[in-house]
Symmetry: C3
Subunit: 211 residues, 3 copies
């Protein structure tokens, strides 16, 4: 992931910020101090990419070679804590939406890193897209002892997977990278947001299925 690919890098930064916010919000529900909030934000924002880089053998891991990631996480954590003090509406819905944005960005980045930097076969690239998108949030939920979002929302991993498949198919037919990226992100984001919204309309239905 060279620094010339500015768009690639900027979208990575964007994903880190929104996932850090999502992590900080999850930590905020637990009344952590600011340092604990940063730890959870860090793990949420950089956990998926770290796992991807380790498995693809990309060394050093992104945030080790570029401290900007760390400052983004710290900044996003402070912003979330301050925003949470100002507005009590910065809550569960904000977390679900920022999580969906992060998911779409990280899915694309995971597929791109796998295809263009580690040169793995397309099916493995799809897995890397899902992993990059999902792993940070799963680690966040596991550490916070929450029921993982990936379990609560059935089409969480599905959104990632479909988006990643769309990207690799577009890549196979040599569609321009910018177009593939936007369509893949929209695909993940729309599926995920529709899932979240339709869930809001069906709370009673879910409760009946609770174990």
């Amino acid at each position: 992931m060279p620094h010339e690919l500015n768009w690639f890098l900027l979208s990575d930064y964007f994903g880190v910020v929104v996932f850090a916010i999502s992590g900080a919000l999850a930590a905020g529900k637990r009344a952590f101090d600011i340092f604990g909030v940063m730890v959870i934000a860090f793990v949420t924002a950089l956990g998926g990419g770290t796992l991807r880089d380790l498995i693809l053998g990309i060394h050093p891991v992104s945030w080790v070679r570029d401290p900007v990631y760390l400052w983004l996480v710290i900044g996003a954590s402070l912003f979330t804590v301050l925003a949470g003090k100002i507005s009590h509406r910065f809550d569960n819905r904000a977390m679900l939406i920022s999580d969906a944005f992060g998911l779409s960005v990280f899915t694309v980045i995971g597929v791109q890193a796998a295809l263009y930097h580690a040169h793995v076969p397309a099916p493995i690239a799809v897995i890397m897209g899902i992993m990059t998108g999902v792993a940070g949030g799963v680690i966040r939920d596991i550490i916070c002892n929450d029921i993982p979002l990936i379990l609560q929302k059935e089409i969480y991993a599905t959104a990632c997977g479909l988006g990643a498949i769309v990207y690799t198919v577009f890549d196979y037919f040599q569609v321009e990278q910018g177009i593939s990226t936007v369509i893949c992100m929209l695909c993940v984001l729309l599926i995920r947001l529709v899932a979240v919204i339709s869930r809001w309309n069906l709370p009673a239905f879910r409760l009946q299925h609770r174990e």
Copy 2:
């Protein structure tokens, strides 16, 4: 792990399939969609080996270099979902038995990868055997928010460890590899199945010890 060692590779594939089934069954109890089932099956089947390859510095990780692993996981997931629709008896017992099979296969593979490919000392190879056998299931249980099997059944890790010790001792005395493999697998499998069966006979005893 070169492709010439067909037996080694085939037993690895077998372990992946049974652990994927075990993962899909665990996911099935949670009413995931098919994509979520595949994610849990994937993590269960390939989590232990991934951790082992990362720690031993074997790059690239097995399933990254060989997409067959991915197709096996997808196939096993589909099979499990279909079999689950046909027979409602494909349940907890099936999961415990397939888990025990996967455990025995992965323990051997972990020890062999450590001894013959990373050339680590025998005690470390035992650890790698346990890790390869246990880690996938532990990750599955953690993500599914279940109480890990490794905690519920006291002799889960013990079965792995004894099997791995048997293999390394046989290897030290230069017993033929095929014989070591079969005896190590039988060792893990028998200890584990006896434990599972004897547990079935002692439910009341366990309940008294519950915290």
Copy 3:
């Protein structure tokens, strides 16, 4: 981490022993067999360092190249189980104190490995100090299905982080390594122990904040 740096190595061994005890105590509360106790002790003692070495690209991981770590974990596990049989007072308080000691040692080691062996920037070294100190205990708590200590005690990660920052600042001003190490360790240990003790005095306060 060459063998000439005896002090470095000895403090690493010390940290491994106290974290292994902390892991064995956590496992002991769950009535595991001796093998299960060793697995949890192993993960607690070596999980943080393993993660650090993987992310920093230090190969092979410490305990793979030096089986002494394994024997320390096994010895500490046996000691804990025996001591637990002799004295029923070897309990929660012992676990919290041994955890605090391990935390201080591992924080220093994490920062030193990052600064002197992987040559990463100072902010990343702070993260590595926190990760080395915290990760093993977090993995222990996650596997044991406990609420992570890092969540229960707000200034757990904070103690690590402040200690790590102190070390990197002292390192920047070229303070002698032994002095930096002792002050960093005291910093982590004192903050953590004060937090544990003050928590014991404020149970009612916490209960009001419980969700």
